[in-house]
Subunit: 346 residues, 2 copies
């Protein structure tokens, strides 16, 4: 039992001096627990949507190949950071052991069910077996172990939620909590990826914050998806267009608003090359909030400059204060959203 | 002579429907000028610092190899977008022809000297000859032609500046103009890459905005660079550390502030893997402004989450309203800065 760094630097094998997230190799030996670490008996991994999508595509949706790829990633790096997307995901498990420096100082005890709210891209992980891939919800049920560092954040699974629903919601907790901070009364908001889970939660929260004088637009790729989205009642109007066609998104958005650009664009997609579809419909001095892990920094920075748009582009931080509480409260507030999560994830 | 799209979509060869910035191949045939285009007789290219650095590294600093690589990039794409960094730069040239839809509607006439303020990553370009690579200032003097689209922004070279100085300053115009918007009186600001030209301009502007109760910290990689930086007098203190060592940057910053995290971190570096060095020293609810084109979106997004930091991370937009005017005005205000630019770039 030895003292480790708050940020987990003691587990970094290479390169030396890096932090766990951007290192290439983490020590995932679970036989040694440092005094400020928490050992977790892992039950499932919620793979980040962009990452799961990439693994699925590259393996032709063959489940056995996908499992092999997941083992390979962890074998290579000691963590589940997809080398192609750079992203991770999160996990659900039971507290197995608490390092002695943390014992009594945190609100956890051995046996508690928790979800880690730090990315798998920096979490030491060992996978012993992958029991099942839940293809439509990007979840892998496994046997394995993981380590939570002292600076790592987590949430206990609340008693009024099933594990699967809590995990699915907490996975995207940053997005609706940021939406709550950003959207002001009367604003026009466009949400890309509005038919997915984070998009739905953002649409719900945006509508609440924008209030009766606001306008929430949800992008859907076709009539069917638009109908599905509109039935939830969070968006006022659908913008039906391919999110990779910026000109089309721009024109359809202006049609929906009566010619005005929107105040805020929120990107909850999991596919690349949608930067310009976010930038074009946003008004000068407006906000583009990129929650999609498939966003390219340079495409956004140079793209806005290229079309002379003075928009504030924000990198979606997976964490913001009280994000777990805000997100779970949304599901408590909205029976419709909760039902959707329960149908999809249980 | 035919009518083209405002955004230049008519020049996109592949993939269809993309905008010029993220397309793979642009039509750089300069024999046809669309009615809403401007043809420029190019004199020099200011290659984006991250891009120039990458080309230099990959060619072992061999000038002939670097020239060949530049020709190859333009041959491949019809524009100078470095495939490895995704970034471009800007150019200086003389207006050769103005499409008839724009004639009389803009403040340009044939023969005017202009700098384009949109990235080379979306500018149709033909290079006929590279006369000289100015290795220390990332500039290539060439003979060639380029096209400015209708939505493209530009600045006439002001009469009170030499071309080289104006070009060098306008190249980083987004950074000091954004700094002017972000920094408030009394704030503590850390600038990474503070010994470079954009870093210097940001430090100058940050000090002005933060006022007498503010604290401007500049990162330098060693004692010599720190001495050089401190002589300019824009930073109050130097933080001497390797910008790729987040823990070191964090500790040295706290030493400099007396234990407090800073309000704003501005990244003006041109090297990758510095995301965490920006995030760690920033206080909760503070702002991290990434102007470096070598920034990774996922490393920033997941990195902040990984250490539980609720910081607002902004993608440095190369454009913001009046950025050219703000930036040139800084050089008029500060004889020290202007002298530095004149010594370095003339």
């Amino acid at each position: 039992m030895v003292q480790g760094s708050k940020f987990g630097v003691h587990r970094v094998i290479a390169p030396k001096g890096a932090l766990p997230q951007n290192c290439d190799k983490l020590d995932n030996n679970m036989d040694v627990l440092y005094d400020n670490e928490i050992l977790i008996d892992v039950q499932s991994l919620n793979i980040d949507s962009a990452s799961f999508h990439q693994i699925k595509e590259s393996c032709g949706a063959d489940e056995e190949k996908m499992k092999a790829r997941m083992f390979e990633i962890v074998e290579m790096q000691g963590k589940h950071r997809n080398p192609d997307t750079g992203s991770g995901g999160m996990l659900l498990g039971k507290v197995e052991k608490i390092g002695k420096d943390l014992e009594g100082k945190i609100d956890l005890k051995v046996g508690d069910k928790i979800a880690t709210l730090v990315s798998l891209s920096l979490t030491p992980l060992r996978i012993d077996k992958i029991h099942k891939l839940n293809m439509n919800i990007d979840r892998a049920d496994i046997t394995g172990k993981a380590i939570l560092f002292e600076s790592g954040i987590y949430s206990k699974i609340p008693e009024d939620f099933s594990e699967a629903v809590a995990l699915a919601a907490l996975d995207v907790a940053g997005a609706p909590a940021q939406t709550a901070k950003l959207v002001k009364p009367g604003q026009k908001v466009l949400i890309l990826g509005a038919t997915g889970k984070s998009g739905m939660m953002c649409a719900y929260e945006a509508r609440k914050r924008a209030g009766p004088t606001g306008l929430i637009l949800g992008n859907a790729r076709n009539e069917d998806r638009a109908k599905y989205m509109m039935e939830y009642g969070f968006c006022h109007k659908a913008v039906i267009a391919n999110a990779k066609s910026p000109i089309d998104i721009y024109e359809k958005t202006l049609e929906a608003t009566g010619g005005e650009e929107v105040d805020i664009v929120i990107n909850c997609l999991n596919v690349p090359d949608c930067e310009m579809s976010c930038i074009l419909p946003c008004k000068d001095d407006g906000i583009v909030y990129f929650f999609s892990m498939a966003t390219s920094f340079t495409k956004a920075a140079l793209g806005a400059e290229g079309v002379g748009k003075d928009v504030n582009m924000i990198i979606g931080n997976g964490y913001c204060k009280d994000h777990a509480e805000i997100t779970l409260e949304i599901l408590r507030e909205s029976p419709i959203l909760r039902k959707m999560f329960e149908e999809k994830y249980v």
